[in-house]
């Protein structure tokens, strides 16, 4: 919270405050009643699949779009009632950097300096910005001739001009190579020391690497708003593997299904000699791998490959939702805790509410990929 004197009274406000924001495009609801706050100096990640409403929220926050209802304010200034005042506090890098391709970097930054009515020492400030984003060597080049990575950096430089209190990045690392991505992430981390930063992405690793807090958004609704550590903990607890076992498929499958500690087993249509691939999921909090190894070895079935499955966004939603529910349950009554297995196919209320569609789509994807693999097999 920031303290400011206002007509002699001390008032408190967050750097960014969004209350009950709704944005409809015709009958299509892009943002559905979102509320959150960002404190000064925080780096917040906006995570969600494509079309979740990330860009729309950011566009409303920067005054590019107007909300259907609800309120967005920067440092206590409402973006609708005092757009100029609020916009002065914001540096914004849209999804596609707004570059004039026929200008040189120098001209472009000068233009932005004037556009933002910047009062800082011009030469000094521009030199400092160029130093921060490392574009000194292309300073006199025409933007059209720059590579994607440099263009992105010029876009970031544009957002930094005038030293705005709030910096908003919409998918800042899209289309960059891995080395550039790491550079940009470091850059953003550095910015977080002096600025309040919001960035959006659909890559989990990115927010994990950079952000203090993660807001997960899906279909225009906030699914989770958690400290990064909490979400990292959830995700680190990876329970799903693809495992390749040499041996008779049917027997192995029934053995795995009867095994303690596994909540889900599925034979994938993938074959390698006499080995088949199975997808397994262990119960929460159990590392099944050693036990699996020894019990399979006992029966003479060799594990010839094991691969931890990364979580996709859909899985993360489900896990995060599951986890938060679980914490509630643990607090209320530990004995009555229901594991996923006992629950069987029945879904919890929360999961039903938030994750059902996602869960289904994840299932469908899995099934589809299995199907395509089968058909590929048939082709052989």
């Amino acid at each position: 919270m920031k303290r400011t004197k206002f007509y002699g009274k001390e008032i408190l406000f967050s750097m960014i405050k969004i209350e009950h924001l709704v944005k409809n495009y015709g009958s299509n609801c892009a943002v559905d009643d979102i509320s959150f706050e960002v404190e000064t100096g925080e780096i917040v990640g906006f995570l969600g699949p494509n079309g979740a409403g990330k860009s729309t929220t950011m566009n409303i926050l920067t005054g590019y779009l107007s909300s259907t209802s609800g309120k967005a304010s920067i440092a206590g200034i409402d973006i609708l009632s005092d757009p100029i005042g609020a916009k002065k506090l914001i540096g914004y890098l849209p999804e596609q950097p707004p570059l004039y391709l026929d200008m040189t970097v120098e001209e472009y930054l000068n233009f932005n300096y004037e556009l933002k009515c910047c009062k800082l020492n011009k030469a000094e400030h521009l030199a400092q910005v160029c130093e921060t984003v490392k574009i000194k060597d292309v300073y006199h080049k025409v933007i059209r001739t720059l590579s994607k990575g440099y263009r992105q950096r010029v876009g970031i430089a544009q957002a930094l001009i005038g030293n705005p209190k709030v910096i908003i990045f919409d998918e800042p690392t899209v289309g960059l190579d891995p080395k550039q991505i790491i550079e940009i992430r470091n850059l953003i981390r550095g910015l977080g020391k002096e600025h309040t930063v919001i960035l959006s992405t659909h890559i989990l690793q990115e927010v994990q690497a950079v952000c203090d807090r993660i807001i997960i958004i899906n279909k225009g609704k906030i699914v989770a708003n958690e400290k990064t550590e909490n979400i990292t903990n959830v995700v680190a607890n990876n329970r799903r593997f693809n495992i390749k076992i040499s041996g008779p498929q049917r027997e192995i499958l029934s053995f795995l299904k009867g095994m303690q500690g596994l909540s889900y087993v599925e034979a994938l249509a993938e074959r390698d000699g006499d080995a088949y691939t199975y997808m397994i999921e262990s119960e929460m909090g159990i590392d099944i791998r050693k036990k699996l190894f020894f019990s399979l070895a006992e029966r003479g079935w060799a594990i010839i490959g094991m691969e931890a499955l990364g979580m996709n966004l859909e899985d993360i939603f489900i896990t995060v939702v599951d986890k938060s529910e679980e914490i509630k349950l643990t607090r209320s009554n530990v004995k009555n805790r229901i594991t996923r297995r006992q629950r069987g196919k029945e879904k919890s209320a929360l999961e039903q509410e938030l994750g059902e569609s996602l869960y289904e789509s994840a299932q469908r994807q899995r099934a589809e990929s299995a199907l395509t693999e089968v058909s590929e097999d048939e082709d052989d």
Partner: protein
Amino acid sequence: MFAIYRKEMRSYFINPIGFVYMGIFLVFSALLCCYTTIISGSYDTSNYFTFLIIAFIILIPILTMRLFAEERKLRTEQLLLTAPVTITGMVLGKYFAALTIFVSGILLSCINFIPLYVISAAERAGEDSALNHIGPVTGEIVGSVIAVILLGAALIAVGTLISALTENQLSAAVVTIGVIAAMVLLNFVNVLTDSDGQPIIGSYVIRAVVDWISVLSRFSAFSNGIFDYSSLLYYISLSFVFLFLTVRVYEKRRWG
């Protein structure tokens, strides 16, 4: 607003479009002046201005087509709309940049009148009588130039609005040509007659309204040497209306 004005001015001359416009305009106006005055042996400049206005149908869209359409296509309008500038400031910055190019073209083309003065001076030297006025009427030329500038300002506002409505420069240009042609040439329907020599538009009221709306017929007073304030006010109001509509287009897009 001044940042945007300066940026637009710069981009007119970084892209060849500013030079192309200036070149075409100066060559064309010089030829036109030559044909309507010197070759036809007249000091009367009213035909010159009338033909110039008809040439605006092609010339004005060159200036206005890219104003907003290009920004929208390159997504750079996002930068302008999230910067601490009002939409009105943005529209005016762009409008005045186009207007500056236009006005400087018109003023530069005033060198076309120099030969008229030179020739008339030579002719006057031969005559001893000072009773007849020989040569162009300076007052009429000045009045016409002012009127042409204001008329052009109105047409640029029209082009600005059309450019704000589309994402494609070419379609902006084509539509602008159509609209300006309609605005300028509207009063020609009054002149059209059928085989019996009767005007095609029978109703006097419609003809009066068409005449009132037509940008060109409102200019005729200037051709006759009358400095017509009501026409100037009409042109200025047109500019205001179309610029206001441009601002509204952007406001509406925010809420859309």
